[in-house]
Symmetry: C2
Subunit: 379 residues, 2 copies
DNA sequence: CCCAGTTAAACAACAGTGTGGATTAAGTGG
DNA sequence: CCACTTAATCCACACTGTTGTTTAACTGGG
């Protein structure tokens, strides 16, 4: 059984594949002591953040040791370092179980800030988030992404960032994440053909923003950014309902971007061979079915069917709905999609799915872009 | 916009999720010096293996240093260690570029062995693979998985393993991987309801095999095992055509198993609202459409359509077809699926996909199960 | 009130990792 | 033959988490 031909005749890169980190920069696989230290510091910070997200007032060194697998002594040293850096602080004491009570530790949310921006088709959203992933300040302006072109929009972005950072020391800003519609090369930081916006075509967005703002910059697809707008299950998806339908995927605890950082084309799965023609050229795509649905209920059912496919394929346990279109009728989508999921995934023990609307609402994508930057600390 | 209800009313575990390693055992996130050393050793071994897979006669320390990001000195030490352990050996010299020529290193394939087994519905396949992932010896016997029940089948497995290990020192055997159909809890090593085989229901397969063979044991879904049968792109899928349709997924360089280690239900994506009823209870599943297709061509086209959905959703660049049904008409499937992929994914620069039949043929799943075990070394 | 018992956290000495600078090995080319 | 170049190792070192011990802080019985 010989290994056989290639579909569209194009060579694939050699299999020496260097995996990419969640920050989007290609990283070498070897690790030295510095990498070890940073990894463990990030592990500790992540555990502290998770505890806070779960509603605790803090987490003790003992729990950190148990959950990280490190020794108490190592945790002591790491916590000391992080405290001196201003990232952690003692916020209370646990109850004694017969001995010295545990000291509870928490993040200092204002120790650093991350900026997030969404370049939407008709709005620019820019926000500043703290270490806990909460929005400290948001600014939203109407724009015409396809009409205005990069220079004008990025001028505006720079201006808004300036306002958001007015009272923040520069050294406390981790960087800026920029979410954009359409396909892009996340690793290189270059936009591909943003649908209907030729002036953005091939723009080296990452470099350009980095140059203008003087801040470390990362770019991301809007749907992918959305999935980073909050913590959640290691196997979850963010369904982004905007002009098109996209999905941001976290699988096995990592953001998935695919071979050409273009994963998440959720809207272009074929769902009906007799369906309408889609703008992508094929027929019966979810996106096409959804956009021509006669009623909102019907649209929600199409979406539910597609989400059920996704959940079964990837064994997800958490789905978040977000994007402009969801905000029009959130309850309707919740109930209709929920009904369909329950019907298609009948077994509650293996197939339970938490379904919700993104709590950050219209800020979800921009907040996720900021979350991408925060990931540098919590990786 | 409140976070809203749950679909089937069931609680999800707290978000302190400990990610699982590719070996299937839950691992704590913290890393100590031993973990660092093992990680770098695995990194080196992986680079050596990749070089061999790419056709080179070996790889030099200089290249290892460059590709791992470690210093030449660190590579020297690591290579020395691995050589003393018998895993690496010097196999030649590179060409001089004006100075001392590089020494080329290679794996010693016979340094260790991994066993792989596939519990098929009508056949038991057991094989021994070397470190390079090549099959050294295979045994295949007809069985009746659903009729015979665990005890008789596992007796047979033990017997075959004994034969395969006749000339192999026990300490050179890394372990055994067992691939099984149907849903299972890969982390706990327990089978769920294998379709139509009640006697296997809830069996603690991993423990049982480990007890019988006295070898470290890992279990895996058959489709997922298939994707580990060879090296390949960090974003690839193995499509398993057996009684049902499954997919093994490697995304972002890691095997993906999903929240309940049940990912890959590729056969149950709804592709046609007017399609036939599926044994899963829903209608229009790929699997149902495929199995009632009037001609082999039509079956291949259904499959192609489903694969096109998969590729777009996850941005894959490599698809391998395997399983019993593919071996019936491999060329037909290759050409028909290839045609459909080319039609649905027209842009060769972003959407190129390598499509092939699993070179290991009928051994693919068992070889992948062995590959799961090898993963312990190459993590 | 005291004090043994218990648990948390830090202190001190240590083993082992990769790093940096210098040295040796093994080629090329004039 | 020798200067030059590149590969690989030797040696001293900084820094990581670990182990064993000590101190801090609280509980509870007499």
């Amino acid at each position: 059984m010989p290994a056989a031909p290639v579909t569209p005749a194009t060579a694939v890169p050699p299999p020496t594949g260097t995996p990419s980190t969640s920050t989007g920069r290609a990283t070498l696989p070897g690790a030295n002591l510095t990498a070890l230290r940073d990894h463990n510091a990030a592990t500790v910070l992540t555990l502290v953040r998770s505890a806070a997200a779960a509603g605790a007032t803090g987490i003790s060194r003992v729990e950190l040791a148990r959950e990280s697998g490190l020794t108490a002594q190592a945790i002591s040293k790491i916590v000391l370092r992080l405290t001196e850096e201003g990232l952690l602080t003692e916020t209370g004491r646990g109850v004694s179980t017969g001995g010295k009570p545990r000291t509870l530790l928490s993040l200092v949310p204002q120790a650093s800030w991350a900026l997030g921006a969404q370049l939407g088709r008709d709005a620019l959203t820019v926000l500043r988030a703290d270490l806990a992933g909460r929005v400290a300040s948001v600014r939203r302006l109407p724009i015409d992404l396809t009409g205005w072109g990069p220079s004008r929009v990025l001028d505006l972005l720079g201006e808004q960032v300036g306002l958001l950072l007015a009272d923040v020391p520069r050294e406390r800003v981790l960087g800026v994440g920029v979410a954009s519609p359409g396909p892009l090369d996340q690793l290189a930081g270059v936009l591909h053909e943003v649908t209907g916006a030729p002036s953005w075509n091939g723009l080296r967005l990452r470099e350009e923003v980095e140059r203008r703002l003087g801040l470390p910059t990362l770019i991301e697809k809007d749907s992918t950014a959305g999935v980073l707008s909050g913590l959640g299950s290691p196997n979850r998806a963010f369904i982004h309902l905007d002009q098109g339908l996209g999905a941001g995927l976290v699988l096995g605890g990592s953001v998935q971007r695919g071979a050409r950082t273009n994963a998440g084309e959720f809207g272009h799965q074929m769902l009906d061979p007799d369906g309408p023609r889609c703008r992508c050229g094929n027929t019966g795509c979810v996106e096409a079915l959804w956009s021509v649905a006669p009623t909102p209920d019907a649209a929600a059912r199409v979406l539910g069917e597609a989400i059920a496919n996704l959940v079964r394929l990837l064994d997800l346990d958490e789905i978040t709905l977000g994007g402009r279109e969801i905000l029009v009728a959130p309850e309707l989508y919740l109930s209709e999609v929920g009904r369909l999921l329950a019907a298609r995934l009948p077994d509650p023990t293996w197939q339970a799915v938490t379904l919700s609307i993104a709590p950050s609402g219209a800020d979800a994508v921009a907040l996720g872009a900021a979350g991408l930057v925060l990931g540098r600390l919590f990786a």
